[in-house]
C-alpha cells in the first residue's frame, strides 16, 4: 500500500510541476498576476508530494518491503539502518528520486527565501525550475519507477553494493546532487532574466548567493568523493579522472567561473552576456554529467547500470533544456547592453582571464572525457585517455590560474596603474620566488622543480592575500581590527574569498607533495616479518577472521614503529559481504597533518603470508583540507549580511550602496 502511495505522490508531484511550469510563466507574459501567484503554492505542493514519495521509499527499505523491485535489488534485512536509508540513492531509480526531491527542495527554498524578488521574476524563475522538474519526474515515472513491484516477492533482498556501504559514500551523493541541482537556480534566474530582457546588476545580485550555495555543496560533494575513493578503494588514489568524476568536476569549474563573473556583473555591470552564458553552461554540464553516467555511452568504474532507452530519453531532455536555453541566449543576448568599460590592467581583465582559463580547462576535460566516444563514433578505434594527460593539463594551466588569483584581489576595478601594481607586488613576488627556489633545492628530500613551483605558487597566493588584507584594514593592526572589520556588512564575501583562495594554496601543496613524494611498496609478508618504508618500520602480525554485521572480514594487524617507538597499530580488512559475496578492501590508515600511513591487504598467499600494499603519503590530508577551506569560504560569502539584509528588509533590489562597494573592494 505504501509504495503505491509513493507512486501516487510522484504522479501528483508531476502534476504540480506542470502547474508550476505553465501558469506563472504564461501569467508573467500576459500580465495576469493571479496566474503568477500560483507559483509559490505550486512549489510548496510539489515539494510536499516529493517528500511523501521519498519518505515512502525510505520506509520500504526500513521495513524490508522486497515486493518493491528496487528494494529487492538493493536492500537486505541485515543491512544496518543507516545504509538502508542511503540505499535509497544507491542506484539509478532511487538516486533519480533523490535528485527530484532535492530539486523540489531548491524550488521551495527559492519560493520561501527570495522575497525581495519582484513577483513576475520569481514566477518565471520557479516556472523554469518546474520545467526541469517535469523532465526528471516524467523520466522517472516512464522509464525508472522506483516503486515498481515484483512478483513473486523474494524472501531476501540482493543487498546494497558493498562499495556503497560506507558513511562517506552515504552522504556523498546528496551533497553532490545539492550542488548539481542547486545550479538549476542560477540557470533559472538566467533564463528568467533573458526572457524579461533585464540582465542587470540586480539580477546578478539575486542569483549570487544561490549560486554560491550550490557551488559550496558541489565543492563538499567532490571533496567527499575524493576522500572516499582514497580510503575505500584501497589503492590510495584520490582522483582518477574517471568520466563520473569529470562529470562532477566540469560543472564545478564552470560554476567557479560563474561566481567570479557574477561578482563583476554585480559590482561593475560588465560581462553580462558572458555571465549569463556561464550560468546556462554550469547547469548544462550537470545535466550532461547525468547523461554520461546513466546512458552507458562511456564506461566508468562507478557508472550506474546503463540503459540506451533511458539514454535516449535524457538526450532528448538535454536537447530541450540546453538547446532551448542556448537558442534563447542566441536570440536575446545581442540586445543586452554591454556594461561598464575597463582598462587592460584592471580587476575585470584579470577575472576575465581566470574565467577563460577555467572554461578552457573545462573544455579540455570534456574533450578527454568524450575522446573515447569521438574515436569510436568516427571508427578510429577504441581508445582511452590516460590520466597523465589530465595531470599534464593541470600542470600547464594551474600556474597561470594561481598567478591571476594572486593579482586579482590587489588590483582595482576599472583601471590600475602598472607601476603601482608592481610596487605592491614586489614583496609577494620576491618572497614566493625565494620560497620556490628554496623548495626546489635538494636540501629537503630530492629537489624537484615541480615542488619548487608548487611552493612558489602557494606562497605567492598566501602573501598576496596577506597584502590584500593589510591594505583592506588600512594598516590597522591586531586581531581586534580584523574582528571588527569581519563583522561589518558586506565583508563576508571578502573574507570568504580570502579563505577559499587560501584553501587553493593548501590544496596545491597537498596535491603536489603527495604526487611527488609518496612512497608505495607492494610486498609479501609472513607473520612477524618487518619492513622499512620512509623511516617507518612495519611489522606484520598476521591476519585473523572477524565477523561483521553483514560481512566476514579478514583483519590484518600491522604495527608501525618509528625508531623503536610504536606509532600506531593498523588493522586493514578484506571483507567478503555475505549476500553479494564480493570482496572489499578496507584500508588501515594512520592519518596525520603532514603524512598518512596507509596499509591495505592484498591476497592470502598461503602459510599465513599475505601480499600487502604499504604507502607513505605526505601532505595528502591537505588536499581535502583545501577543499574544506574552499567550501567554508563559499559559506562565508553566501551568508554575507548584505544578502540577508536584502531579504529581511524586503528591499527592492538596488545596486550596491557606495559604502558597500567600498567595503567589498577593500581599497580606494
Amino acid at each position: 500500500m505504501i509504495p503505491e502511495l509513493g507512486h501516487f505522490a510522484l504522479i501528483l508531484a508531476l502534476l504540480m510541476a506542470l502547474v508550476l511550469a505553465v501558469f506563472p510563466m504564461v501569467g508573467s507574459l500576459n500580465n495576469t498576476p493571479g496566474w503568477v501567484a500560483v507559483a509559490r503554492p505550486a512549489a510548496f505542493g510539489q515539494f510536499t508530494f516529493l517528500l511523501i514519495a521519498f519518505a515512502c521509499l525510505v520506509n520500504a527499505f526500513l521495513v524490508n518491503d522486497f515486493s518493491v523491485t528496487y528494494v529487492a535489488q538493493h536492500g537486505n534485512t541485515k543491512l544496518p539502518n543507516i545504509y538502508k536509508v542511503s540505499a535509497v540513492w544507491g542506484a539509478h531509480e532511487g538516486s533519480l528520486l533523490l535528485w527530484a526531491f532535492i530539486l523540489g527542495g531548491w524550488t521551495l527554498a527559492v519560493a520561501l527565501f527570495a522575497r525581495s524578488l519582484p513577483d513576475e521574476m520569481l514566477g518565471r524563475v520557479l516556472s523554469v525550475m518546474g520545467m526541469v522538474s517535469i523532465g526528471f519526474l516524467s523520466f522517472m515515472l516512464f522509464t525508472s519507477n522506483p516503486f515498481a513491484r515484483t512478483f513473486p516477492v523474494p524472501t531476501e533482498g540482493r543487498d546494497l553494493n558493498p562499495l556503497l556501504q560506507d558513511f562517506g559514500l552515504a552522504i556523498h551523493p546528496p551533497m553532490l546532487y545539492m550542488g548539481y541541482v542547486g545550479l538549476s537556480v542560477a540557470f533559472s534566474f538566467a533564463i528568467a532574466a533573458l526572457i524579461g530582457g533585464k540582465l542587470d546588476t540586480s539580477w546578478a545580485r539575486w542569483s549570487r548567493p544561490w549560486t554560491t550555495v550550490a557551488w559550496v555543496f558541489l565543492t563538499i560533494g567532490i571533496t567527499l568523493g575524493s576522500w572516499w575513493a582514497y580510503y575505500e578503494l584501497g589503492w590510495g588514489g584520490w582522483w582518477f579522472w574517471d568520466p563520473v568524476e569529470n562529470a562532477s568536476f566540469m560543472p564545478w569549474l564552470v560554476a567557479t567561473a560563474l561566481i567570479h563573473s557574477l561578482a563583476v556583473t554585480e559590482k561593475r555591470g560588465a560581462f553580462k552576456r558572458w555571465t549569463v552564458l556561464l550560468a546556462l553552461l554550469a547547469f548544462s554540464l550537470s545535466l550532461l554529467g547525468t547523461f554520461l553516467v546513466r546512458s552507458g555511452v562511456l564506461t566508468s568504474v562507478h557508472s550506474f547500470a546503463a540503459d540506451p532507452a533511458r539514454g535516449l530519453y535524457i538526450l532528448v531532455f538535454l536537447c530541450i533544456v540546453i538547446g532551448g536555453s542556448l537558442a534563447l541566449y542566441a536570440w536575446r543576448a545581442p540586445d543586452v547592453s554591454s556594461g561598464g568599460s575597463f582598462n587592460v590592467l584592471s580587476r575585470e581583465t584579470l577575472l576575465l582571464g581566470n574565467n577563460l582559463l577555467l572554461v578552457v580547462i573545462t573544455a579540455f576535460i570534456l574533450l578527454g572525457t568524450l575522446a573515447p566516444l569521438i574515436y569510436d563514433a568516427l571508427g578510429w578505434g577504441k581508445i582511452s585517455v590516460g590520466f597523465p594527460w589530465f595531470n599534464t593539463m593541470f600542470i600547464i594551466f594551474t600556474p597561470f590560474l594561481v598567478l591571476l588569483m594572486g593579482l586579482g584581489p590587489l588590483t582595482r576595478w576599472k583601471h590600475h596603474d602598472a607601476a603601482d601594481l608592481l610596487r605592491q607586488f614586489r614583496i609577494a613576488l620576491l618572497v614566493s620566488i625565494c620560497a620556490g627556489v628554496l623548495a626546489a633545492l635538494p636540501v629537503f628530500k630530492e629537489g624537484s622543480a615541480y615542488a619548487g613551483l608548487a611552493v612558489m605558487l602557494s606562497v605567492w597566493l598566501v602573501t598576496t592575500l596577506f597584502l590584500s588584507l593589510r591594505r583592506r584594514l588600512s594598516y590597522r593592526r591586531g586581531v581586534a581590527a580584523i574582528l571588527k572589520d569581519f563583522s561589518a556588512r558586506g565583508s563576508g564575501s571578502y573574507y570568504g574569498m580570502l579563505l577559499a583562495h587560501f584553501g587553493v594554496a593548501v590544496f596545491t601543496i597537498g596535491v603536489t607533495f603527495v604526487t611527488l613524494y609518496d612512497i608505495e611498496k607492494d610486498i609479501r609478508m609472513a607473520p612477524g616479518e618487518e619492513v622499512e618504508l620512509a623511516g617507518y618500520t612495519f611489522r606484520f602480525d598476521g591476519v585473523e577472521s572477524v565477523p561483521g554485521p553483514n560481512y566476514q572480514a579478514d583483519r590484518g594487524t600491522i604495527r608501525v614503529f618509528r625508531q623503536d617507538r610504536e606509532i600506531t597499530t593498523l588493522t586493514p580488512e578484506k571483507r567478503t559481504y555475505l549476500v553479494q559475496t564480493k570482496p572489499m578492501t578496507e584500508a588501515g590508515i594512520d592519518a596525520g597533518f603532514t603524512r598518512d600511513i596507509y596499509v591495505s591487504l592484498g591476497e592470502a598467499l598461503g602459510g599465513g603470508s599475505w601480499s600487502l600494499r604499504l604507502y607513505y603519503k605526505p601532505f595528502v590530508r591537505w588536499i581535502w583540507l583545501g577543499g574544506i577551506l574552499i567550501a567554508l569560504g563559499g559559506i562565508l560569502a553566501a551568508f554575507d549580511k548584505r544578502y540577508r539584509l536584502a531579504v529581511n528588509r524586503k528591499v527592492m533590489a538596488s545596486p550596491a550602496t557606495p559604502k558597500d562597494k567600498l567595503a567589498t573592494q577593500g581599497q580606494t
Binding site: R273, V297, T299, L315, G323, P334, A377
Partner: protein, 179 residues
C-alpha cells in the same frame, strides 16, 4: 563574423555534441562482438539437470536447429524471459535446450516445477566453465544453432516477445528452410 551570429556559437557547439552523443547511444563501449557467431559451437559434456548420472553433450544436439538458453535461478531477468521461453516452446517452432549456469541443482529443479519447463533437456554447468567456453558474460543469453552445429545468432539479455517475433522466429524459419 556578424555580431548576431556570434551568439549562435554555443548552440552550434551543443548541437554538434548532441549529435555525437546520439551516435554514442547506438555504440556500446563494452560490446565485445561475439567471436563465436558463424563458428561451430564449443564442445561440452555435462551432467543433466534432472538426472545427474546422465550426460548431455554437444553431439546429442547436432542435426537439428535448436536454441540454447543460458539461465539460472539467481538471475532476475531469467524470470522475466521465462514466459517468453514457454511461449516459444508451446509454439513448437524449435527445441529449446537449457544451460543451467552456476546454479544449485535443487533450486533449479524447483524453479522448473513451479514456473513450467520449456526445455527439452538441461545441462547443469555448476562451475560455469562451459559458459565461459560459450563466451557467456551473464545470464540470460540465448544462442541459435543450425543443423551443422554452427552458432548463427546470439541474443544477450532477456528474450522479449518482440525479440522473439522480430529476430528469433524469422531466423528459425530461414534456418529450417536451409537444407
Amino acid at each position: 563574423m556578424s555580431r548576431q551570429l556570434r551568439y549562435l556559437l554555443p548552440l552550434a557547439a551543443f548541437l554538434l555534441l548532441a549529435g555525437l552523443l546520439y551516435r554514442g547511444l547506438s555504440l556500446d563501449p563494452k560490446l565485445v562482438p561475439s567471436p563465436l557467431i558463424g563458428k561451430s559451437m564449443p564442445a561440452f559434456t555435462l551432467p543433466r539437470l534432472q538426472d545427474p548420472d546422465a550426460t548431455l553433450s554437444d553431439s546429442d544436439l547436432l542435426g537439428e536447429v535448436f536454441v540454447l538458453n543460458i539461465w539460472a535461478t539467481w538471475c532476475i531477468a531469467c524470470r522475466a524471459e521465462h514466459d517468453v521461453l514457454l511461449e516459444l516452446a508451446r509454439s513448437g517452432a524449435v527445441d529449446i535446450y537449457g544451460l543451467n549456469y552456476k546454479d544449485q541443482r535443487d533450486s533449479a529443479k524447483s524453479w522448473l516445477q513451479q514456473l513450467g519447463n520449456p526445455y527439452v533437456a538441461n545441462a547443469f554447468d555448476a562451475d560455469g566453465r562451459t559458459g565461459i567456453d560459450w563466451g557467456v558474460y551473464g545470464a540470460p543469453e540465448t544462442f541459435v544453432i543450425d543443423r551443422q552445429g554452427i552458432i548463427r545468432h546470439k541474443h544477450i539479455g532477456p528474450l522479449t516477445m518482440e525479440v522473439l517475433n522480430e529476430e528469433i522466429l524469422p531466423l528459425l524459419a530461414a534456418l529450417k528452410a536451409e537444407t
